[in-house]
Amino acid sequence: MKISAKLGGVLLAAALSTTAFHGAFAQEDTIKIGVLHSLSGTMAISETTLKDAMLMLVEEQNKKGGVLGKQIEAVVVDPASDWPLFAEKARQLISQDKVAAVFGCWTSSSRKSVLPVFEELNSILFYPVQYEGEESSRNIFYTGAAPNQQAIPAVDYLMNTEGVERWVLAGTDYVYPQTTNKILKAYLMSKGVAEDDIMINYTPFGHSDWQTIVTDIKNFGSAGKKTAVVSTINGDANVPFYKELANQGVKAEDIPVVAFSVGEEELAGLDTAPLVGHLAAWNYFQSVDSEANAEFIEQWHAFTGSDKRVTNDPMEAAYIGFNAWVKAVEAAGTTDTDAVLDTIIGVTVPNLSGGYATVMPNHHITKPVLIGEIQADGQFEVVQETPAVVGDEWSDYLPDSKDLIADWRKPMECGNFNVATGKCGGKGS
């Protein structure tokens, strides 16, 4: 008998606990937003910073009087790098804490896991990380870079400025690198690069023994043609990769490595002196010289209470996303999802590199592409900056998506409109 009572009791407890607690500080006069970043588990290393950045942005906004005259309240939860938990937490934030919008996710897996939740419960997610594209949801705004806002300009730079003819596409074996490399390969070959001048290599997550691969790269590079590495290696594996590069004496002058997932944050774990000249492509660098950025960095250092803490591209993406949301809400005069979805398209807010970011109908934003070289102090020096580029959700270099576009304005309101068939709903057939 006892047992059964316990079992029932536990279920009940669970029900209450999850409701009770959040009920606790749900005051009426605040507007709530959700912050959905892993604070534990493998992704905490990258995502915790974004959680702090969001809290800072909220604080700053509240100093300016919040939004719609109400204070903003951030509800922070920890999905613990566990994808199903992301979905659960998203559901909880929306249907229970009644948040107006959610800012979060890092990996594509986490985004894919919450996407159905946001569409079902009709809420808004701002996704601040560069990703493989090939997606456009009515309820998600992609404020990070799409491949055409990062990968392709970087390759162009190497091709034109450094005269690279031979390419190593090295990545962690998951969807973002796979897709990006597919796009890049198609792009390079369209530029007349021979198939055997492209070497593609995949490694497992958190790969830490790079001896063989770095040697392979060196050998591949010793064929007399100018060679470069395009790295889509995922966060954790980068430090050992660069350490191995440095130790095996791969110099940027000989074989430059351009990375899409290595920012100030990752370099913080490295002695960059031997890496000077290796590149990264982002839409923002901490070293960018602009008032907005200076102010932002100052706030950041003040907020974290340490001027060692660096800023990085996803933080800028979060900054843009948050401000865009605030502006849209002000314009709509309400936090109601549909209203905001309407007003936010076309909203333009300053970015941190001295320009402006506009939210496009495909729920991606305009971004300048910056190519930076690693400096001895762990910062990047911008060696090339493009004018703002519109994020291309459906890559033009993948056969199945080149005909697709997304436009969430009325009357089209479609995430996968096929310009060839003139129908909404993918390539059809």
Binding site: T42, S208, D209, T215, S222, A223, K243, N247, G269, D271
Partner: protein, 534 residues
């Protein structure tokens, strides 16, 4: 600095060579002030063309990114940061030109291309420097960038050169440049021979590059040379693979050896082992941080200092864990799994709360950085030290276990607790210290691993599984098993990687371990009689 002036003096004399045009580089240097990358590249060419060796420091500074232009008048200076200001030095004479606020100067940006251009230019300019290393450097640059134009210069230098090694390098440089020049077939044939002798993949690159341009009668020689070099390389690659395997094995050994005690000898399924390694790595970070801030000159000693610190820290934590939790769980190995799992969660989160979740920078001391060539093999110093290090830990531990009285007591207790205690051994303390020892060694391993991997709260997690694999594969409770297990897994992995790829390779290794355990259910070196049972 002195050397540099001597260099200048010497080079002014040598620069009198007729082939080199004479003109004042100063205007060119000042042109850099408002040049974009493309223009800058040309200007560097012109500067080098002056052959005026006084520009060497300027170019070096440019490559370092220390070349600034004064906003007011676009005059270019070599700068050094002195506090908030910049100390200005005349690019040619090297005389001090006062100071300027950072705001008043604009940095002359440099990118990979310019660095490359500068390197080549310097090559040409320092080929006759009295500093042997400078000459060797220059010869290497020329070897890397074959060009007909350098040919005469190299030969002039060769004529003067006395140092054997530099000479050889210059000969090779001459050979590669000669191959693409208009020289006679005989000379080229010698050149091919020389290139073949110095070998290596670059040589193949050069030969292939020249293949089309040379006289048809030479092509057979080139083919022969390439063939010879390739067979040579194949052998060296094999050796290289073994080496990589051993170095991976030594990492596995490091990760596993502490576990070989806490799990292997004591039978505690110690899920917090990885966190001990992590703590070791973080102690290294803390030590280095202190050194950086207080005594930078000691940096090369940081690891030596970190070792005892890491050992003590982790051993202390281990002791606390054993006294606080594990001692209540002897004879219940599965409970130890749960408890230590809980402990590992707590330790991870604790580190996150204290140091933040992001990677911490642990620098490589100079003797741990870079690499050296061993024949056709490239050996990185850090890997070599780690192999040596892991082996020495292993044997030290072996001696401790087999020879010392503590080791004796340890084995006595783990084999027959009750008898040992009845023989007056204070078993609780032996347990405590054994666990502390295991943890401490994990900590030391952390110091070494901090040199090649992330120092982040997840560090431990990435090693725990491999560690268990190694210990079980080697045979629980047998140190030798752990050594052989680690090394063979390492080598196996490295031989699978090239043809299976890193991911598939790892999977195959795991499958092989599973199958192997079927054949030998007690691991490689099965322990007679008592073995850990769960």
């Amino acid at each position: 600095m002195l050397i540099r002036f001597v260099t200048l003096f010497f080079l002014i004399i040598s620069a009198a060579a007729p082939s080199l045009a004479q003109s004042d580089p100063k205007p060119f240097i000042d042109q850099l002030a408002d040049a974009n990358f493309k223009q800058a590249e040309e200007i560097i060419g012109q500067i080098a063309a002056t052959g005026d060796a006084r520009v060497v420091p300027a170019l070096e500074a440019f490559a370092e990114g220390d070349l600034y232009a004064r906003k007011a008048d676009d005059v270019v200076f070599i700068t050094k940061t002195s506090g908030s200001k910049l100390a200005l030095v005349d690019p040619l004479t090297g005389e001090s030109a006062g100071e300027a606020a950072k705001g008043a100067m604009t940095k002359i940006k440099v990118n990979n291309n310019l660095r490359r251009a500068i390197r080549d230019a310097l090559g040409a300019l320092t080929l006759m420097s009295p500093d042997r290393n400078a000459r060797l450097q220059a010869a290497n640059t020329m070897l890397a960038a074959p060009s007909e134009d350098n040919l005469e210069l190299i030969e002039t230098a060769l004529a003067k050169e006395t140092d054997g090694e530099v000479r050889a390098r210059m000969e090779e440089a001459r050979a590669v440049s000669l191959l693409t020049s208009g020289r006679s077939i005989e000379e080229k044939r010698e050149a091919i021979e020389r290139i073949r002798n110095y070998g290596g993949r670059d040589a193949i690159g050069v030969l292939r590059g020249a293949y089309g341009s040379v006289d048809a009668s030479l092509q057979p020689d080139i083919d022969k040379a390439i063939g010879a070099i390739e067979s040579e390389i194949a052998l060296w690659d094999m050796a290289q693979n073994v080496w990589y395997g051993l170095s991976l094995g030594s990492v596995l050994l490091l990760a596993a050896i502490g576990l070989a005690i806490t799990f292997g000898v004591m039978g505690i399924i110690n899920m917090a082992h990885g966190e001990m390694v992590m703590l070791g790595a973080y102690s290294t970070f803390v030590v280095q941080d202190l050194i950086r801030s207080s005594a930078p000159q000691l940096f090369d000693w940081s690891l030596a200092i970190a070792l005892p610190v890491a050992f003590l820290v982790t051993a202390a934590v281990g002791l606390a864990i054993e006294r606080g939790v594990i001692r209540f769980l002897y004879g219940r190995p599965l409970e130890t799994l749960l408890a230590t799992w809980g402990i590992s969660l707590i330790l991870q989160q604790a580190i996150r709360s204290i140091f933040g979740p992001t990677n911490q920078e642990v620098g490589n001391p100079s003797w741990m950085s870079g690499s050296f060539a061993l024949g056709g093999m490239n050996v990185t110093w850090n890997r070599m030290w780690i192999i040596i290090f892991s082996l020495s830990i292993f044997f030290a531990l072996l001696v401790l276990m087999k020879k010392s009285s503590f080791g004796l007591q340890m084995r006595a207790v783990t084999q027959n607790r009750r008898m040992a205690s009845s023989m007056g051994i204070r078993t609780p303390w032996v347990d405590a210290f054994t666990f502390a020892l295991g943890s401490g060694i994990a900590g030391i391993a952390g110091v070494a691993l901090s040199q090649i991997d992330n120092v982040s709260p997840n560090l431990g997690q990435s090693y725990i599984i491999d560690s268990f694999m190694v210990v079980v594969f080697g045979g629980v409770g047998n140190l030798w098993g752990t050594l052989v297990g680690a090394m063979s897994l390492g080598v196996l992995n490295k031989f699978l990687e090239p043809w299976a790829g890193a991911v598939l390779g790892k999977i195959l290794v795991l499958v092989l371990i599973i199958l192997f355990i079927q054949k030998r259910p007690r691991g490689l070196f099965a322990l007679k009689g008592r073995a850990v049972e769960a």
